[in-house]
Amino acid sequence: MQNNKYTRVDRFAVALAEKILLYPKITIFITLLIGALLASGVIRLQVSNNYRVFFSEKNPDLIAFEKFEGTYTKNDNFLFVLKPADGQVFARRTVDAVEQLTKKAWSIPFATRVDSVTNFQHSWADGDDLTVEDLIRNGASLSSEELDSRREIALAEPLLRGQLISLDADTTGVNVTLQYPEKTLTEVPTATAAARRIAAEIEKDYPGVEVVVSGISALNNAFAESTVRDGITLFPAMFVVLVIATWLIVRSVSVTLIKIVVIILSTAVAMGYAGFAGIPISPFSGSAPVIILTLAIADSIHIMSSMITLMREGKDKLTAIKESVRINFLPVTITSVSTIVGFLALNFSDAPPFHHLGNMASVGIAAAWFYSLTFLPAAISICPCRIRLTSGQPRGLQRFVERIAAFVTTHYKAMSICCVVFTVGLALAIPTIDLNDQWVKYFDERFEFRKDAEFAINNLTGLYPVEFSVSSGEAGAISNPSYLEKLEELTEWLRKQPEVVHVYSYADIIKRLNKNMHEDDPAWYRIPDSRELAAQYLLLYELSLPYGLDLNDRINIDKSATRVTATLNDIPTRQTRAFITRAKEWFSTNMPEHMRSGPTGAPVMFSYISERNIHDMLRGNVIAVILIAIIMMIALRSVTFGAFSLVPNIMPILMTFGIWAILVGQIGMAAATVSATSLGIIVDDTVHFLTKYLRARREQGLDRAGAINYAFSTVGFAILTTSIILAAGFGVLAFSTFKITGEMGTLTALAIIIALVGDFLFLPSLLLLGSKKTSSKGVKP
């Protein structure tokens, strides 16, 4: 190559390389210093432990739920589930265990309320005396008959049955409500540790009683545990994979080491940025280091393979470095920018962890680009690297690539048809994908939380509370018989729904009080006849309740609305959405205007999280596609080829989701993220392939088949290896303990592999297709 053939970019790259090679030590010092400064933000990193991190401040479902919580109480809880080996909750020993647990649960940090079958406020009448007291006190001293009567009361009590006592009374629950000050991130782990300690103490003191801890706080804690666990397993695993892969490619220990430094620096800078930006690390965004590690390798691999190839051709090290920087500067920059565009597009989603991952990955990719073009050449220039020049690329692989080239150039028509048929066929399956975000299933079976949650679901009750705040329209009007009758109707309707395992409703309380006011005559177990009666019963009852067991979390302060909680079974979110739709319909046909209430709560939020994010990401995807197309046009200096290059890149994404639809069938919120990021990543191979193809056409005047062969022989191997490394990196994420991260990793890995096939089979076929038609006009340059 001669200088006068250099483009401006080439000249800039050469000038950069020359400066670096002139002052390699200073370059190394400065780049390391910058890296260290940025990476120092790592110490500020914090691990999030709240499921709400997945909902933005603008999320209407979150806003509705926070309003609900402001009116009643926060919904954070621990649900202890106790199952005695003999299946008898109402045995002396077990009720004693429940009493002890109830008492100890008060010591859990931030606990504000503890509900159990023993401290349930049982009300009963004796003439004109109303007694409200613990259902069981000093249970160990009660006779079998007394315990049997308590059992009957508990099983007949709608507030307990199916919630704190199983239908056959073989399992019971202790529910602890917590109010976190939300000042530090240690609150949830502290409370969880206390809850688990108490569960262990009870198990130790009462052998044969199994105690597990579930609930929203346990879920929140699991988010943090999952992040940490992934961090200490996946990152090292990926690191080892990359070290081995790098060594296999460059076959030099010192170069491998330099490369490791580049990758570590890129990751550390990105995580440091996250620390300075105050980004909380959550299960999903926690995958950023693995992703950066994976993506950082691609930049440096191209620079190093060119360098090694040049040295094998007989160039000295410095010349090889300079030339390598020159020929790679543009493609490496373009691929970095396109990948960054894909990741930044995540900012269009609703879920903040997606933004976080997108931004961290973008910083990491930018850092990898920077270090690959500065630190890497500088370090290689001064290191006493011995690069084995004899062993070329593995023969087998090289021959394999060549065979593909030969195959494609002869069978391009069939290949094109095949690819189109496959893409269309698979794309048709995409609408069958079921969006499912059951949070219990976010965590894999290794997780204590998952096991405990399933234990709770299988033995006691559901874990998905759907809340309704049913308004009466005016202050105090919850005591109106017309309101209470409607509330009762709602309660009964909810109880009939197959998804519902338990309903907590004030209607049941006021009916019980009415009965108590009439000497416990069962005929009076109904809604009181007048507003005054209901209001005065409620006042009487409220005066009788102990600390922490009041109705303030059930009735709003001006007594204009009450809260109805329907606990749903362990069902896919599709069924939850169906239930929500049905409930809304029921409200609009059966309830007066002012009593209509949209369901709210965490299950509602999660039921729409995927749809919402996919919807929000549509715009992000369109913008990413347009930007990437423009980048490709600039990179290839051809509008036609820029636009054309998208075809083999959108195809793998369609096929990926199609394959997923057929093989797996359901997906969580990860679905929203994969398109934009995958596109940004897989487009890189097309850039490399088309750059070489066009160079052969433009500079060497080869025909299409010849240019394709040239592209295969120059970058085929690099495309193959980087794709394998990228797929391996994202494949590692499949082992995440968090389902969303796992799905994102698997889908991206799948997209990368399909894109590789597409670049090798479909892209050349498309280039050859219609060659006769266009050959007269020719490819422009």
Binding site: T71, E133, L533, E542
Partner: protein, 271 residues
Amino acid sequence: MISFSGRKLSQSIILSLFLSFTVGAPAIAQSTEQKGFEISARSDRSDRGFSDSRVKLKMILRNAAGAESARTLEISTLEIPDENIGDKGLLIFSSPADIDGTALLSHVKILKPDDQWLYLPALKRTKRISSVNKSGPFVGSEFSFEDITGQELNKYTYEYLREEPCGELVCDVIKRLPRYEYSGYTQQIAWIDRKVYQTRKIEFYDRKGDLLKTLSFEDYRLYQKKFWRAQKMFMNNHQNGKSTDLIYSEYTFGVGLSEKDFVKGVLRRIR
């Protein structure tokens, strides 16, 4: 010795003092516990001899979202000179409308469950509330019945903590530990000023020892040149973000009430 009426401590202390001395606590141990008790007793004593009173009370409840709701009631109190029996109180609700005329008669006990009767005008019956544990919120507010009635000297043991400025005054800070088994609290910290010996602030600590609520007393006024009454009390719940204001008005003393105005039978004849 009840403080249905917004004052804090009342009741004779002679017996208590006598008991404390005869127990013969060593001089050093005496210093903090005795000092705490003495200051509380002095505050209580400052209110002795009011005999009976009547006051109107407006409660303003506020939730974490900032929504408000009000209740109004009238409170009559009968002072019982014997410090081992609590005062008697009669609370008559006037709003919200649906509990208008509902009346709560309470005979406060020191270490046992209070005797309580509620008259329900809609049912035209009086119901005795025989629950042991009434530490829950009073009519949905952040006050428990205990907070309103619990300021009996002998309901606590005391410990003097320190002296501290409180607003423009100087206060003694005293820790008090509930003696009643079913109290909702593990401890309270009270600030009592040194000028007129009135309580200015109380912090309530929950069962796990965490700060639960803070009660502030505002706008003390002197009645009959003898009895201090706060016109406003603000309770702030730190854990759930809710709060309640008590606004007292129209204090009258020496209404001429007697024991027979505080018996169950009187409830039916109130209106």
